[in-house]
């Protein structure tokens, strides 16, 4: 079975996370679950990958973390919300991906 190489997807983990945060603030497991379901289970993000993306993006000012209670069970969690810089970065990454896709597509057989 073909699976996604982590080298290729690495540059776009941030994009996926930011896309999900555009809608509403969220926390670790919820994001990993959404990535799994939106990709129709073709991509499962590793916990360490996700956490490393969070810390990196927080350092770069793309997301902010805050502590809040989970509505469903009242457990304290670390939530992340997207910042203005994060939105701008997301737009940049979308443009970058469109270009990348366009270029790589030209070299793919059967299209």
């Amino acid at each position: 079975m073909i699976s996604i190489s982590s080298d290729v997807i690495r540059g776009y983990n941030d994009t996926m996370i930011l896309y999900l945060l555009l809608e509403k603030p969220s926390y670790g497991y919820e994001i990993s679950k959404q990535i799994k379901s939106l990709s129709e289970e073709k991509y499962v993000i590793k916990e360490t990958t996700l956490y490393s993306a969070f810390t990196r993006m927080e350092k770069n000012g793309y997301v902010e973390s805050f502590s809040d209670e989970d509505m469903s069970n009242g457990k304290k969690r670390t939530y992340y919300r997207i910042t203005e810089a994060g939105r701008a970065y997301y737009q940049e990454k979308c443009a970058e991906w469109n270009l990348t896709k366009e270029v790589v597509e030209k070299f793919i057989e059967g299209n």
């Binding site: 670790g28 497991y29 679950k33 590793k46 916990e47 360490t48 990958t49 996700l50 490393s52 969690r77």
Partner: protein
């Protein structure tokens, strides 16, 4: 869930104990727990759920740059590989050996404390022969020294724990930590019993005195009972203290700064004396004190007051230690 918690802890075992690392461990733990709970609620078995969570956990290398832990993730670049690893079997036999040597030391001390009793007793039995008492006393001291030497030699094979830098893996550390926590209660009880024996040691003598018994009882047997109670109390201190020390020695094997080395509180830190003179003096401190005690006591026969040597000595020791503590 316990398996996952242990898995995570063992991954973090040798990482530095910093705020970032603690936070990472906590957050990753949360994600694992969420995923585990969801898998379970979907009807997966315990083993399946654990398998999936671990296979999807990833690799700490990814976090290395963010947490500033490169040197810990790639230990081959560091001098970490020459650490002597302590296995669980070794830890168990170290604790057992330390206990045995503790009992031997304690027996030695017991004999030392009791060594004056034949002397006292014989004096009042009226045989008049104080030579016999002295002989018994030195005999007991000789046996005690035998115990001390044997227990020291017995522990020699473990001296690498002090000389060499060692490490202990997570499951062993966790095992020792559990053992220590389980033993804490017994330790407290033994210490309490020991203290009570020492505090109440004069009571039989006082009662005998009150009952107006013969001189043999009040002047002969009563002091023997007093010494015996103190001796048994001290025996408890030493035995249980050695066992506690065994746990703490093992738990302080891992580097203090790492997540696996944070089991022993900082007060337990070994005192290192800055000056060579002080450290030389301190190494013979307690034998010297014992010597002073015995000399003073035998020269004056003022046993009722000479015990203050111990109180003064321990105050002085505390003072010297505090003066030399490196912060």
């Amino acid at each position: 869930m316990e398996t996952l918690r242990n898995y995570l802890k063992s991954m973090f075992q040798n990482l530095p104990n910093t705020r970032e690392v603690q936070k990472a461990q906590y957050e990753l733990g949360q994600m694992m727990e969420d995923k585990y709970n969801e898998l379970k609620s979907e009807g997966k078995s315990e083993n399946e759920a654990i398998g999936i969570v671990i296979s999807e956990f990833g690799n700490l290398e990814e976090l290395a740059a963010d947490l500033g832990i490169d040197s810990y993730i790639h230990p081959e670049q560091q001098a970490m590989y020459d650490k002597r690893n302590i296995t669980q079997d070794e830890a168990e036999s170290f604790i057992a050996d330390k206990q045995k040597s503790g009992v031997m030391t304690a027996l030695g001390v017991l004999l030392c404390i009791m060594c004056v009793t034949p002397f006292i007793l014989l004096e009042y039995i009226g045989s008049g022969s104080s030579v016999l008492g002295l002989a018994a006393m030195f005999g007991m001291i000789a046996i005690a020294i035998g115990f001390f030497v044997f227990s020291k030699v017995y522990m020699d094979k473990w001296s690498f724990l002090n000389r060499q830098s060692c490490s202990m893996d997570f499951s062993t550390t966790d095992y020792v930590h559990h053992e220590r926590e389980n033993y804490r209660m017994t330790h407290a009880v033994l210490i309490t019993v020991g203290v009570m024996l020492c505090v109440l040691s004069f009571v039989p003598a006082a009662i005998m005195d009150e009952l107006d018994m013969s001189e043999l009882m009040t002047e002969g047997v009563a002091p023997v009972i007093l010494f015996a109670m103190i001796a048994v109390g001290v025996f408890f201190f030493i035995v249980t203290g050695n066992r506690m020390k065994a746990y703490n020695t093992l738990l302080s094997v891992n580097e203090r700064g790492t997540m696996g080395g944070s089991f022993v509180d900082s007060q337990k830190e070994q005192v290192h004396y800055d000056s060579k003179t002080v450290s030389a003096v301190m190494s013979v401190y307690w034998p010297t004190v014992t010597c002073i005690y015995l000399c003073w006591s035998f020269l004056t026969m003022d046993w009722h007051i000479t015990w203050v040597v111990w109180v003064i000595a321990s105050l002085v020791e505390m003072f010297i230690k505090n003066m030399n503590r490196d912060y």
